[in-house]
């Protein structure tokens, strides 16, 4: 692997029958990422179950209950590497009752693979997966039209799916959509170019994943640095005067001598140094973890945000959020929750449910005010102190929140600031 190789995170959503597990198994198998002992284990299980040959789908089934039931119920992470990139797959279940798992897998993804069965075309599930990709602002969507072997590798079937997809996707906010005709079972256009579909001029899936331009996906304009903790060496160490603000650049670029403002206090200063273990840097950009020191002695603590003075986020106590409910227990009306936004934590109350989205039809329901598991709703939230926010579509880090139920400590909801 070369030094400039990037990391690409992609998500797959799919249900039992659409070939998702087979596709992932195929990607791993053909890119030689499955080890012999893993393959042996799968071969044994395949035999026990009476399958012919090796069932590649078994490779992605993790926990005992899932192996027994043959379903994927949680997000599982898979890894493979090619000479061009390292890949992390967030493998999620596709049924509507697992919407929260899909949302989780989508939250960190650079790309989404959406599987469509060539025989059935765009179905409700396709729309749901596409909507989630759009809602979570996954920058790239790859629609894999699978099971082309079952429609005799005909171009018509492929074109029909594209047309169906484009009809409804105009309502979504996805900037980059690509279509690839594949057969995961036979390996057509997954790693190797298919010899059965000469009419397809585009690249196979793996090549697409390897070459897709992702470095401009990160917001490089709005410089945001949420402070995680303050580094102050003990008095018996060297550097006892050091006072560094540790964090990970959420977006934008910080340079030494930049004029910065600390929010919410509003104090201004200049960046004195940008430090990592072995050296000091001239600049830091997302998603680097660094320590900043400032020219002036200002009271800064976890939850504060350092931003460039000429470009500040809004400090808001009332926010509108697209909220996905993640918990078995429904939201209690006007209940208080802890809200986490970057490194900041406050108390919050859901003031109003504006509408709930029917994620099969994308229709808005303004009557149903309940928030149940897997619901996606637009809500108004009020916090006890201001949060320094950007809209989610501009900034996935400073535009996202979670809600925690103080009675159980569980993460009950995830939200994207409108």
């Amino acid at each position: 692997m070369l030094d400039n190789n990037q990391l690409l995170r992609f998500t797959t959503a799919g249900s039992v029958d659409d070939g998702k597990s087979t596709l992932i198994g195929r990607l791993l198998y053909d890119s030689k990422s499955i080890f012999e002992d893993q393959l042996e284990a799968i071969e044994n299980t395949s035999k026990k179950k009476g399958h012919e040959g090796v069932d590649l789908a078994l490779f992605t089934d993790g926990l005992r209950d899932e192996r027994e039931q043959g379903i994927t119920i949680d997000v599982a992470y898979r890894y493979f590497t090619t000479p061009k990139r390292k890949f992390i797959i967030a493998d999620t279940p596709g049924h509507i009752q697992y919407t929260r798992n899909m949302v989780t897998g989508a939250s960190t993804a650079n790309a989404a693979i959406i599987l469509v069965d060539a025989r059935h075309g765009v179905i409700e599930q396709t729309k749901r997966h596409s909507f989630i990709a759009s809602l979570l602002q996954i920058p790239h969507v790859i629609v894999c039209i699978n099971k082309m072997d079952l429609v005799d590798y005909k171009e018509d079937a492929y074109n029909k799916v594209i047309q169906q997809f484009e009809e409804f996707s105009s309502k979504l906010l996805v900037h980059d959509i690509r279509f690839i005709p594949i057969s995961a079972l036979n390996g057509d256009n997954v790693v190797n170019r298919s010899e059965n579909m000469n009419w397809y001029q585009g690249a196979p899936l793996l090549h697409t994943l390897e070459t897709m331009h992702i470095s401009s996906d990160i917001n490089k304009v709005d410089a945001r640095f949420p402070v995680q903790t303050v580094l102050r060496p003990q008095s018996d160490d060297d550097n006892r005067d050091y006072r560094g603000y540790a964090g990970r650049v959420a977006s934008g670029i910080f340079r030494v001598n930049d004029e910065v403002t600390v929010m919410p206090s509003g104090f201004t200063s200049k960046i004195k140094s940008i430090d990592v273990l072995d050296k000091s840097l001239n600049e830091a950009y997302a998603p680097m973890s660094v320590s900043l020191t400032l020219e002036d002695d200002i009271d800064i603590s976890r939850g504060d945000m350092i931003v460039r003075s000429n470009n500040k986020p809004e400090a808001l106590q009332d926010i509108e959020v697209m909220l996905c409910w993640l918990n078995d227990d429904a939201a209690k009306p006007r209940a208080k929750y802890s809200i986490r936004h970057t490194s900041n934590e406050q108390k919050a109350m859901i003031k109003e449910v504006i509408y709930k989205i029917n994620i099969e039809t994308l229709d808005r329901n303004t009557e149903d005010k309940s928030l149940n598991m897997n619901d996606i709703s637009k809500v108004k939230i009020r916090t006890t102190k201001p949060l320094m926010v950007d809209p989610y579509r501009e900034n996935r880090t400073t535009g996202s929140i979670i809600l925690i139920d103080d009675a159980t400590n569980e993460t009950v909801a995830a939200g994207m600031i409108v």
Binding site: R67, Y79, P287, S289, S338, S343, S400, I402, N409
Partner: protein
């Protein structure tokens, strides 16, 4: 603007540092679980980066089975001295002596499962609310679903079907008295990533990882090192081989592979051509299809 992106190793490093700083910010009394293996050495190195120029602000904890490679213990003591860190040792021998656990019997007996009790006892008696581990999701299928911040109930148990959702990089470490968390900063690293990074950063690791001559016996498809704990079967024979270890666990269960790789470069090359997973040489994982999941549910690393 094209130069403003990180390569994969820098991105993994940045993510791990972020997680370590979150642990420090969200917990009162975290420790690094330090086994002397490459993954816990890597986590310790990343912690040094995360808090520099301050020292690593929490202790290292070693669950000592008593079945150690002597090289591992020396390495542990050296690194503690260098970091100026505090070391907490939880002793499996003590757990046995106190009657908390019973030793397994027979030739394949190991102290692997006994560690769970010692670990949970050490966590409780030291009031630890977060134990940072070097677990990676690529190691084993039960670990593929592990969170960065992983909740353990007041019996130290993992409930894989009821895990907290983890979205973006917002980690929820809230817990009640008596509960604790496991944190896994290198969740997203693969074995290859670990070696590439160790090579790049020139991180010191125990000599056991490099090819060396050693007395071994062929058992369960790998070379098990000779030690005072080894019970030979009639048909087994001790031979001297040039081997190295891909992972380090107890000396009783960690199998070596024949190898000439005696530098970090050669190890990285060798690993990139490997066709077996690293845990394939660990007899603790061979016991059943869900061996790891079952141990993890009870509180294993």
């Amino acid at each position: 603007m094209s130069k403003y992106y990180l390569n994969y190793l820098d991105e993994l490093e940045s993510e791990a540092i972020f997680v370590l700083r979150e642990v420090w910010a969200q917990f009162d009394n975290p420790v690094i679980l330090f086994s002397g293996g490459k993954d816990s050495i890597l986590v310790t190195h990343l912690a040094k980066k995360a808090f520099y120029p301050a020292r690593i602000p929490f202790p290292l904890m070693h669950v000592d089975t008593g079945h150690n490679f002597p090289e591992t213990i020396k390495f542990r003591d050296d690194i503690i001295k260098e970091l100026g860190a505090q070391l907490i040792v939880g002793s499996v021998q003590d757990s046995i002596d106190e009657g908390r656990v019973a030793e397994e019997k027979g030739k394949n007996a190991t102290r692997n499962a006994l560690q769970i009790t010692t670990l949970l006892d050490a966590i409780e008696s030291n009031n630890i609310d977060c134990a940072i581990g070097g677990g990676r999701r690529d190691e084993e299928k039960a670990r593929a679903k592990e969170r960065f911040f992983s909740h353990r109930d007041d019996f130290g148990q993992w409930d894989p079907k009821n895990q907290r959702p983890e979205l973006w990089n917002i980690f929820n470490g809230k817990h009640f008295e008596g509960e604790h968390f496991r944190a896994f900063p290198i969740s997203n690293w693969t074995e290859m990533d670990v070696w590439n990074y160790i090579k790049r950063e020139n991180i010191a690791i125990p000599s056991l990882y490099f090819a060396h001559e050693r007395e071994v016996v062929w058992r369960q498809d790998s070379w098990i090192p000779n030690s005072e704990f080894l019970i030979l079967e009639d048909h087994e024979e001790i031979v001297t081989k040039k081997i190295r270890f891909r992972t380090l666990g107890d000396i009783t269960i960690t199998g070596g592979i024949e190898s000439d790789a005696d530098t970090l470069e050669k190890i990285a090359d060798e690993v990139s051509g490997m066709r077996q997973t690293e845990r394939g040489n660990r007899s603790d994982d061979k016991r059943s299809e869900s061996a790891m999941e079952d141990r993890k549910r009870q509180g294993y690393f």
